[in-house]
């Protein structure tokens, strides 16, 4: 019925302004069939505006939004066949859980027996059987969230949109629901566009992550790619934690770059091909790749630093240090390692293929 080759949703050069504020600046994005794409970014970065364009609560100033190849301007909001999960769930308080889930089916005039069957299936799949005759005011936040997801999926929409659906829940509850959302999405194969500002959530769920900032998608890729090969300091720090070492200058060699650190050491590192010569840059190393003391091998690039703080976190321990010029350096070590004591000057090292030169 639907053409699999056509993107579930395609944004093409979409812009949206509110007075002087630019919510979206010529954004383009495709979500393929069955794909889970997350829009990750700080508030005001335009991610919710992208969802609004899809459901029809916002219209674009310029550019094109197409659902399965059909321009949204030709579709009224209720004709778009999009399932949406709202941050506040937006369940109907005057309908029971079962009636809430049945609503999109009833609107579509599906016959009663079929509605009953699909609602029962959905309730069972979401483990909501005992709650089916309760009203939204009587169930927990986690349950309400599952009802909202069930309601958005029950009519087999062409696209599922979720606007920070776990934002209002406890951390412990979130993890379980993330797994559930992931499982359901894979099982149903419904392409999904998910908005969050929680990077762990984005990494856990997504096939691809679109990093949003100032109305633009600044990076788009698989979680591993974005985490390990960020293009800029902002990206490196927004997705995960990063050590940023100031750089005086750098030169491109055959398959690596040679970097003069501000503290005087010259090291080699990886860099994106796109990074133009002369761009101001910094060296980025993830804390888990920094070794301290005995862990440093002769093959590594190394600097000296003073330990300022030690924290034992269970699965790992966090060592906070300061380099000679005051640049902070953090390392995540395995629990059994013994980096030293606060005040000690220690040797810190990293393998060159773990450090990246990023734009700053």
């Amino acid at each position: 019925m639907t053409d699999k080759a056509v993107a579930a949703i395609r944004y093409k050069n979409v812009s949206k302004h509110y007075g002087a504020f630019t919510a979206l600046d010529a954004v383009s994005l495709d979500v393929a069939d069955g794909e889970f794409v997350t829009l990750l970014g700080p508030s005001g970065s335009g991610k919710s505006t992208l969802l609004g364009l899809a459901v029809g609560s916002i219209t674009a100033d310029s550019g094109e939004v197409a659902l399965r190849g059909r321009d949204v301007r030709n579709l009224k909001p209720h004709q778009r066949n999009i399932g949406m999960v709202f941050q506040r769930y937006s369940l109907f308080p005057n309908k029971t859980v079962a009636e809430n889930i049945a609503y999109p089916l009833a609107i579509r005039k599906i016959d009663r027996a079929e509605i009953a069957r699909r609602v029962a299936n959905s309730l069972e799949m979401m483990n909501l059987g005992p709650q089916s005759h309760r009203f939204p005011g009587e169930i927990s936040g986690g349950q309400a969230q599952r009802v909202a997801v069930a309601r958005a999926l029950v009519f087999s929409p062409d696209l599922l949109l979720m606007d920070e659906p776990l934002g209002a829940l406890d951390k412990s509850l979130r993890t379980g629901l993330q797994e559930e959302i992931s499982r359901l999405q894979r099982a149903s194969g419904i392409p999904t566009l998910y908005v969050t500002h929680d990077q762990d959530e984005a990494m856990f769920l997504s096939d691809r992550i679109a990093l949003c900032n100032h109305g633009k998608i600044v990076a788009l890729g698989e979680p591993r790619e974005l985490y390990e090969e960020p293009a800029s300091e902002w990206q490196a720090c927004f997705l995960g934690e990063a050590n940023i070492l100031p750089v005086n200058g750098w030169r491109r060699a055959a398959d690596h770059v040679s970097v003069d650190l501000a503290i005087g050491t010259t090291v080699t590192a990886k860099a994106r091909d796109m990074l133009a010569a002369g761009t101001s840059a910094a060296l980025m190393i993830r804390p888990e790749y920094v070794h301290v003391g005995e862990g440093v091998t002769p093959a590594m690039s190394a600097v000296d630093a003073t330990i300022t703080h030690l924290a034992f976190l269970g699965p790992r321990q966090r060592v906070s240090m300061e380099m000679a010029d005051g640049t902070p350096l953090i390392a995540d070590l395995r629990p059994w390692e013994r980096p030293g004591h606060v005040g000690d000057v220690v040797r810190c090292g990293w393998n060159d293929h773990h450090s990246r030169l990023v734009e700053c």
Partner: protein, 304 residues
């Protein structure tokens, strides 16, 4: 919840009403004791007078009977006043709510300056005495008044409209007097309307009309019913407006009660009591209608 409470900060009066209930100790004898003064006042000043007027309306010169009620329907002026009262209150309550609803819906979704301005305007409207507002309608609607002059100037009519001393004038006056009160009541109720539910319904495939029927109206019916009932109940007691703006055939029951009590207490008390009881029954009927309009609560819980 916290958000709702924040919004209530801006409605000091309503906040006072609402927090009285919430501030009570959760349960137990101590909390119930706090109700005693209020219950005593209600018993002394509401229930006893009602019972007494029922008693008066049934007492005749020879004992007890329905004589006063028979007289009520025998004199043409009483049924006419009854009809007038029902007509004025009914039309005024519907008109008030219809006029106030769009503005209140708009304001209820706003905070800050628009909301404050609206509340301020309501406050000013309430602060000006109803008598003064009624008298100004007398000036505006008179033969040489502004309304007539405007209508003739704009070419709607070429002769005086003769609005003053008519049912229309009474209705205009009542609606205007009641608007700020109805707006207060509506605004309070409509602040609880969740407009995002309409977006949710629409994303689930509901057309605008279906969303209106399934999500919007169920949220609004309670505030609307409350405002209707409030205006209806209050207007049944207004006799000054019909007296000042209406003609001789626009008398209401309240006016008859007044004259019965003033000029002929011997026989008048019984007649006035009958009028009172009839008014009460009318308000009771209006309450039942408004209960039906109000429907089931929107935030529902299953009976356990």
């Amino acid at each position: 919840m916290a958000e709702v409470r924040d919004q209530l900060q801006e409605l000091p009066r309503l906040k006072a009403w609402l927090t009285v209930g919430r501030g009570l100790p959760p349960s137990g004898a101590g909390g119930v004791l706090l109700l005693v003064p209020a219950l005593l006042v209600i018993a002394a000043f509401v229930i006893l007078p009602v019972l007494y007027s029922l008693y008066l309306s049934l007492r005749t010169s020879v004992g007890f009977g329905l004589e006063a009620y028979e007289n009520f329907f025998a004199f043409a002026q009483y049924p006419m006043a009854l009809w007038n009262t029902a007509y004025f209150s009914g039309v005024a309550s519907v008109a008030t709510v219809v006029i106030a609803l769009p503005a209140c819906l708009y304001v209820s979704t706003h905070r800050g300056i628009i909301f404050q301005l609206f509340l301020g305007a309501l406050g000013v409207a309430l602060a000006i005495s109803g008598l003064i507002r009624t008298v100004s309608w007398q000036l505006l609607l008179s033969r040489s008044g502004m309304v007539d002059a405007m209508a003739q100037m704009l070419g709607f009519t070429d002769q005086p409209l003769d609005l003053l001393y008519s049912k229309t004038a009474v209705l205009i006056g009542m609606t205007q007097i009641m608007l700020p009160i109805a707006s207060m009541s509506l605004l309070n109720g409509l602040r609880g309307v969740d407009h995002e539910l309409i977006r949710a319904a629409s994303s689930l495939g509901a057309s605008p009309m279906q969303a209106l029927r399934d999500v919007w109206w169920p949220q609004m019916r309670k505030p609307v019913a409350n405002a209707l009932l409030l205006v209806f109940t209050l207007t049944t007691g207004l006799f000054l407006i019909p007296a000042l703006l209406g003609g001789p055939s626009d008398t209401v029951l309240g006016k008859l009660i007044l004259s019965d009590m003033t000029y002929d207490f011997e026989n008048g008390a019984a007649r006035a009591s009958v009028s009172g009881v009839v008014t009460m029954l009318m308000v009771l009927a209006a309450t039942l209608i408004c209960l039906a309009i109000g429907g089931k609560p929107f935030h529902r819980r299953s009976g356990k």
